[in-house]
Symmetry: C2
Subunit: 345 residues, 2 copies
């Protein structure tokens, strides 16, 4: 008989929470009971799961009594408050916020890359930032085969990473082409920031707040999380993170320097064989990944693979994935699946 | 008395041609007579210039009789056909297409960077690709002060680079949010290409056709033109060129390695003092360039200046400029102005 688990989704009404519910359903996750939790503001909403209707409940410490696996995606402060309560009550928390990602006691896991870190968990497992996940999926096979010294990434990120309200704002702004510059803007680049800018027909080179060194938190997340997941503090990583008028699907222009020389053919083969990654690279047929076409799909898509014209160890990649799927909900559910497979839970 | 010149605009009804007309008017270019030329398809349209109405004429070799300065922006094949005819009749051609850019006999000029190359002209002067122009304006002051060994650029390019029809296509697609994926697409990535993709709510990592090495012609233009303009074949340049749902204004995420160490303060100061370039870099006030805000302006705007966290000689820049203004029409008119200033014409 298949072992089943009591699952809680914290932040069930958000963009990622909704995707988590879909992923659990789609992947036939072995669920005994499921509970959908949120802030008091969203409590009372209804969610359909496997044909049954559930009412979203306001999260309280006691909500986690009897829960085996708690998937969190309701903001860092909610995780800081409730994740320890869930762990105290015996749950394993898989947290999609940045609250615990750089905590040395907390594994930061992309199953295709560092599944073995799961066994070190002490109750909380962190799900990396969306833009980090897709990049490390694409880079890991190259690092394994050829070694890696340097990564420079420029991102092209969708608004869904900023939540459902940001999607609605893009939709509204896009409908008023002639007034794009003066469009009403309340959500981007950061809801709580002082200034907001329209995103339709625009590009905003700020995701999350700025840190003291001039990089944004999003950029520092990509830099630090990549080193942690790949277990390589000596890997040089630089990131420029940019928001675009795209609904779902982050794209990344990645320049990577390998330790050993490789050919484009070898790099393509490594990518094609990597788990969770799909090679989509045929210039003669104009085939390359685009976010509008790959939204909703599970894989990390890689195309436009080119050798640098000056450095034979340098390669350029174009990496696209659905930021709500592999970048968040799917990766969290895959972590839960790996815990079961490896008999860690 | 100010010397005045007979000017022809070839491709007068196009997106860049219209901007050329505006720039000549706005900058009070010393015009004796002006003639607006086009293909037979657009001939007969009317254009207002300095309060007078002109009828666009179909271009013929004889159209260039008596012309001193001919500004071309009607596609490479038109330039190949008519530029030699104009030169034969005594005109200096300033060509905004890629037809002659890499010709060793043809200076490729951004006045702020290599104005002195103008004196070498033999009738044709090439205006660089839009994405190249703004990048070399931002990089030249750094190269002069600190030397430069490597450039890696990822672009975020507006649809207006593909012409007025591409703008209209974006506008139509953007108005139908719910059907973005199946939207009618005829213009992008390349009108004459076999496959077309929607651009609204999407990102297309192809600009121009592919070359045999997997890079696009747009990417190879940025690579080769940068070396030519900066007179440095040893400069390593790599480019990934990407089209976005933005109307006007190209953005670029540029990683540069300098020969000599520098501080962020020195880099900012060099940018601030460079001609034609405006430093727009104050993270604490969320100040950085964005294409929607800088469209229509003359300058190249630079922000998000950061030192690389691993390489003290590495810097990251965010460069935005109007691709139709400094990226095309303004630069062409500035070349004409420089010819006059330097008594070359």
């Amino acid at each position: 008989m298949v072992k089943t688990f009591n699952v809680a989704i914290m932040g069930a009404t958000g963009a990622v929470g909704q995707q988590m519910t879909e992923q659990l359903e789609k992947r036939n996750f072995p669920i005994k009971d499921i509970v959908f939790l949120s802030s008091s503001r969203s409590a009372g909403k209804e969610i359909t799961f496997n044909g049954q209707t559930f009412t979203v409940q306001e999260a309280k410490p006691e909500s986690f009594e009897g829960i085996d696996i708690a998937l969190f995606s309701a903001g860092g402060s909610v995780s800081e408050k409730f994740a320890p309560e869930a762990v105290k009550r015996g749950a394993v928390v898989i947290d999609n916020t940045s609250a615990f990602r750089m905590d040395k006691e907390v594994p930061l896991v992309v199953p295709e890359v560092n599944k073995s870190d799961l066994s070190l968990h002490k109750g909380i497992i962190a799900n990396p930032n969306c833009s980090t996940i897709q990049m490390v999926c694409a880079l890991q096979p190259l690092k394994e085969l050829f070694g890696m010294t340097k990564v420079v990434v420029s991102t092209y990120q969708a608004v869904s990473g900023a939540g459902i309200d940001a999607i609605n704002e893009l939709k509204e702004q896009a409908g008023d082409f002639d007034n794009a510059k003066t469009a009403d803007a309340k959500m981007l680049p950061v809801k709580s920031a002082e200034r907001h800018y329209p995103i339709a027909f625009n590009v905003i080179p700020q995701i999350d707040q700025f840190t003291d060194n001039g990089y944004t938190f999003e950029e520092m997340k990509m830099i630090n999380e990549t080193k942690k997941i790949m277990h390589d503090d000596s890997l040089a990583v630089a990131a420029t993170c940019v928001r675009l008028p795209v609904v779902t699907g982050h794209s990344e222009s990645v320049y990577v320097e390998l330790k050993e020389a490789a050919t484009v053919g070898q790099v393509k083969q490594a990518i094609a064989q990597a788990p969770g990654v799909e090679l989509m690279d045929d210039p003669s047929n104009q085939l390359y990944p685009m976010p509008l076409m790959t939204a909703g799909l599970d894989e990390v898509f890689v195309g436009r693979i080119r050798q640098d014209l000056d450095n034979p160890n340098g390669f350029h990649l174009w990496v696209v994935s659905d930021n709500l799927v592999k970048g968040a909900a799917l990766n969290s559910v895959q972590i839960a699946e790996a815990l079961i497979e490896e008999n860690i839970i």
